[in-house]
């Protein structure tokens, strides 16, 4: 049985949690006390670091300069980091690559996950076992998954072996060292790992569609595809938005699997935004510049997210 908590709310506002009952002072004090650790951790990781990030991003500071970060004002550079960023084609390429990976992986994961979820809607022999096995990829440590696919895509590895068997002649593509195929291999790994998540969430949504309403639609003469379009999909709308949002957000961060498989290479062929920032941080060590990149991304994401949330709220009002 699945219980949908979605039709009426997308709980990001926390408004539902205000208890109706009057809370005496003792309760209020305890409430403050209990929420204090979480508040402090948020402050510790969000507010102060962001100010620091803003400050450093306006300078040329690097940990190799031998001066403390608080003295970074000595290296003030007149917003050069931001103007440089606008002209940094490697950054924009990485951003574009990240968008490309997202544009292919997320819809693929969605469609595969939805297809599988539809197959799991009613009961059949072996359902429970298949369901558990289907979830394994998303629980494998991403770095380990990266290593699995690193092995699979070696030129003498199993993928080429299977392809050879299928086409009936030797096939020895060096997937990870050719710029064209490395990105494909990386995307296959991402789809392998995260289709189960879509499957899991969408299946929970599908079994939550009231059976009576489906039967009512059938009795009114609706075909399977009509029921799917007019009953299932509208009722799944919120769930689909949640599932897609989760994957879009996570996919944007793509790093672990990809970095283990290709290290961003060959060259910059698989360099996504996280890999790019990592390389600048670890290899080039120009942290003032990294701070600027990070801040731009944070601000852009914040704007996107608040737009998305306000649009969703507006849709909920209507």
């Amino acid at each position: 049985m699945s219980m949908l908590a979605t039709e009426e709310k997308l709980s990001v506002t926390g408004d539902r949690s205000t208890p109706e009952t009057r809370i005496e002072d003792g309760g209020r004090r305890l409430g403050l006390m209990l929420t204090l650790p979480a508040q402090l951790l948020v402050l510790f990781i969000a507010v102060f670091p962001l100010l620091m990030q803003l400050y450093i991003s306006l300078t040329d500071w690097s940990p190799l300069d031998g001066i403390g970060w608080w003295q970074a004002y000595e290296l003030w550079n007149n917003f050069a980091n931001y103007t440089d960023l606008a002209a940094d084609s490697r950054f924009w390429d990485a951003l574009g690559r990240t968008a490309l990976v997202m544009a292919i992986c997320v819809p693929a994961e969605f469609l595969l996950g939805l297809g599988l979820a539809i197959l799991f809607m009613d009961n059949f022999v072996g359902k429970r076992l298949f369901y558990s096995v289907m979830l394994i990829p998303m629980m494998v440590v991403p770095a380990v998954a990266g290593y699995m696919f690193f092995m699979l895509f070696q030129s003498g590895g199993p993928v080429n072996d299977i392809v050879s068997t299928l086409i009936g002649r030797p096939f020895a593509l060096a997937w990870l060292s050719s710029p064209g195929t490395a990105l494909i291999a990386v995307m296959i790994a991402d789809i392998w790992q995260w289709t189960p998540l879509m499957f899991l969430i969408l299946l929970a949504g599908l079994v939550g569609v009231p059976e009576d309403q489906m039967r009512a639609a059938t009795l009114l003469g609706a075909s399977w595809s009509q029921r799917f379009r007019t009953i299932v999909m509208p009722k799944m709308k919120t769930i689909i938005i949640i599932a897609l949002s989760i994957r879009v957000i996570e996919n944007f961060k793509i790093f672990d699997t990809l970095y283990i498989m290709t290290g961003g290479g060959p060259g910059v062929a698989t360099e996504t935004i996280s890999v790019y920032i990592y390389k600048v941080t670890q290899q080039d060590l120009i942290w003032g510049y990294v701070a600027a990149i990070a801040l731009v991304i944070l601000i852009a994401l914040s704007i996107l997210v608040s737009l998305a949330i306000s649009r969703m709220n507006a849709a909920k009002e209507a």
Partner: protein, 364 residues
């Protein structure tokens, strides 16, 4: 408008038989109630008529057309679910229009018929309202309208009033009966509530343990139950049933009820049937409201154990153990707990059942 014919209908779920060879003819335009306690097979029967479940044996015909293998969307059956199964993500208009839209009816035709239906059901003011927050009587009307708009040959209603609170049921019953009169559709109504069946149905099919017990008009079923189950199940309180033995007296055939005494002589016709039948051990049955006070020395002498005053009427409980009797009187009845009174039942209201088989002994 369609007659439904169930012939030797059987439904088994694994080793469990939910329905044992049911034969039932539901006439064109009739309001038939399938009545029985839960687990009696009434919902299974209805689900098979709708095509949601396949019979294990026998067949269902609509106007002589065999429905076996006809998909549920193509039977022309309107179904009103227990919880109405309104499409909560659509407004009232879209709910009403659904059946027409999926059949590819033109937009203008759909609009015309939706508006006509809304008008007919007094739903016009709420056409644009989201259906999730409507009150229950509006949901009922909407559910019926949504099914009716595609002009189904028959209507099936699955305990539509069971989620409604008691006070409102009377309103809903009236409305439902009214709608049925207007639609003149064949309706099959499943319920465990005899009041609903008695007040709305043209005929009632009483079921128990997967077996059809009796089919008849509400009055037939009430007055002349064919067996002890129906006698006990129908009526509130149910029929009084006392075990006794047939005995001859100088005034004719009577039933000896042991300690309670002897009944008044049976109706001559009934006596004749009983004599030809040859049964001795019987169950004597009579409705509580047919009990009248008799003068001392006549009728059955019974101690009053409990008096239940329910406003307009007073229910008096007599006796205990196997020989309990309930009687319904006007509220000014002058009896007191503990006293022994004499009660009698007019012979024409007395019923008799074979104690061994539970089957009614009556003129055929």
């Amino acid at each position: 408008m369609t007659a439904i014919h169930l012939e030797n209908l059987v439904k088994r779920f694994g080793a469990f038989t939910a329905l044992k060879t049911m034969d039932l003819e539901i006439r064109d335009g009739e309001f038939m109630a399938l009545l029985g306690p839960s687990g009696c097979g009434k919902s299974t029967t209805m689900n098979m008529i709708a095509g949601m479940e396949q019979p294990s044996g026998g067949r269902i015909t609509f106007d002589g057309r065999d429905m076996n293998g006809v998909a549920m969307g193509r039977r022309g059956v309107g179904f009103v679910f227990q919880n109405y199964a309104i499409f909560t993500h659509m407004n009232v208009y879209d709910n009403l229009a659904y059946g027409l839209k999926v059949r590819g009816t033109s937009a203008s035709e759909t609009d015309r018929r939706v508006k006509a239906m809304a008008d007919f059901l007094q739903l016009t003011p709420m056409l644009d309202k989201p259906s999730a927050k409507l009150s229950v009587n509006i949901l009922q009307r909407l559910a019926i309208g949504r099914s009716a708009i595609v002009e189904p040959a028959i209507f099936l209603l699955d305990e539509p009033l069971s989620n409604v609170d008691a006070a409102f049921r009377a309103v809903m019953r009236t409305e439902l009966k009214h709608l049925q009169r207007q639609f003149r559709q064949t309706m099959v109504y499943v319920t465990h509530d005899q009041l609903e069946a008695m007040t709305m149905a043209d005929r009632i099919a009483v079921m128990d343990h997967g077996v059809l017990q009796q089919v008849g008009t509400p009055l037939e079923v009430y007055n002349d139950p064919v067996n002890l189950f129906v006698a006990d199940f129908i009526g509130s309180p149910g029929m009084n049933l006392l075990k006794g033995t047939l005995a001859d007296s100088d005034r004719g055939l009577v039933i000896d009820l042991g300690a309670l005494g002897v009944t008044a002589p049976l109706d001559p016709a009934l006596s004749a049937v009983a004599r030809t039948n040859g049964v001795r051990e019987v169950v004597y049955g009579f409705r509580p409201e047919r009990v009248v006070l008799a003068t001392a020395g006549q009728g059955l002498a019974m101690p009053v154990t409990f008096i239940e005053r329910i406003g307009a009427r007073t229910v008096v409980h007599f006796g205990d153990g196997e020989q309990r009797v309930k009687a319904v009187f006007d509220n000014d009845i002058a009896v007191q707990t503990g006293e022994t009174v004499h009660v009698a039942v007019e012979p024409r209201f007395a019923r008799m059942f074979d104690a061994a088989t539970g089957v009614a002994i009556r003129e055929v």
